[in-house]
């Protein structure tokens, strides 16, 4: 068992545990903090897959910007008191059963890939580096890139319009 496998399993356990803590913590602030731990674990997976650009963007955009926005809204609305327990336990049980069924069906449908042929070699290849992705982004994908800027502009205008007091 090499260092890559040990890192893979450590990160996997970290990601799954913190993702479970996100949906089971009573306090929304704890949920946000566990979600940041999840994002760091996913970034570790990206580094293992040699996608360094996405790892850094994941940390900057998700853990840095989006989670700060979540924390800001929670603190602003003073929601950091534990939410009251759900009155109807059956909805919770039904949710867990439905999720389990979904997981069962998806795993059963997808587990028979050809294991010997379809491998992901960790730490090889250079497509995830900034130079290659940047070249690709500004040559083949330049039109979607510009459209994304229009999307951001409209999202910004929409957030301001929705958020302002009338």
């Amino acid at each position: 068992m090499g260092i890559t496998q040990i890192l893979f399993w450590t990160l996997t356990v970290l990601v799954l545990f913190s993702a479970l803590m996100v949906i089971t913590s009573k306090n929304p602030v704890h949920s946000v903090l566990w979600l940041i731990v999840t994002f760091f674990g996913i970034s570790g997976h990206y580094v293992l897959l040699n996608a360094q650009f996405l790892a850094i963007v994941n940390i900057i955009v998700y853990a840095g910007a989006i989670m700060v926005l979540f924390l800001f809204v929670i603190m602003l609305m003073n929601l950091n008191k534990p939410s009251s327990p759900l009155k109807n336990k059956w909805i919770q049980i039904a949710g867990f059963v439905a999720g389990g069924c979904l997981l069962l069906v998806l795993v059963a449908a997808l587990r028979n890939t050809e294991i010997a042929k379809n491998t992901v070699e960790a730490g090889t290849g250079d497509i995830g580096l900034v130079a290659n992705l940047g070249r690709e982004l500004f040559s083949n994908f330049v039109v979607p890139f510009e459209i994304a800027s229009i999307l951001f502009l409209s999202a910004m205008v929409g957030a301001v319009v929705i958020g302002k007091k009338e």
């Binding site: 479970l20 996608a51 996405l54 979540f70 290849g125 497509i127 995830g128 690709e136 999307l151």
Partner: protein
């Protein structure tokens, strides 16, 4: 590392997100579960792009790079979605003074 491990990991993360959406009643936690689902899909896209790159690297040097570009655009759309969604939640809180989605049922009646 076989691709199956990444598939099962991403499916587990996605299912945790689905269960979070179904069971939690706080709108912000529901929103965070949606982010979790987006991230599981991102992880699977990166794993598949690496797999594709390993299979096609001999003929095309940049095989698989489009998968990672796609992840980049998913992140961009997620950032825009979060800003608008949190603005909507703030507006809801200002109008009905709660973020419990059990009270957000006016479209039902």
């Amino acid at each position: 590392m076989p691709i199956n491990y990444y598939i099962v990991l991403a499916l587990c993360l996605f299912t945790i997100g689905v269960v979070g959406v179904l069971t939690r009643r706080n709108a912000i936690v529901v929103f965070m579960s949606v982010e979790l689902m987006l991230n599981s899909v991102n992880l699977l896209l990166v794993a598949f792009s690496k797999m594709h790159h390993a299979a096609k690297a001999a003929t095309m040097a940049s095989a698989g790079a489009d998968g990672q570009i796609f992840v980049f655009f998913v992140m961009a759309v997620a950032a825009a979605e979060v800003s608008v969604g949190l603005a909507i939640i703030v507006m809801l809180y200002r109008n009905i003074h709660t973020v419990d989605i059990n009270f957000l049922n006016r479209l039902k009646h």
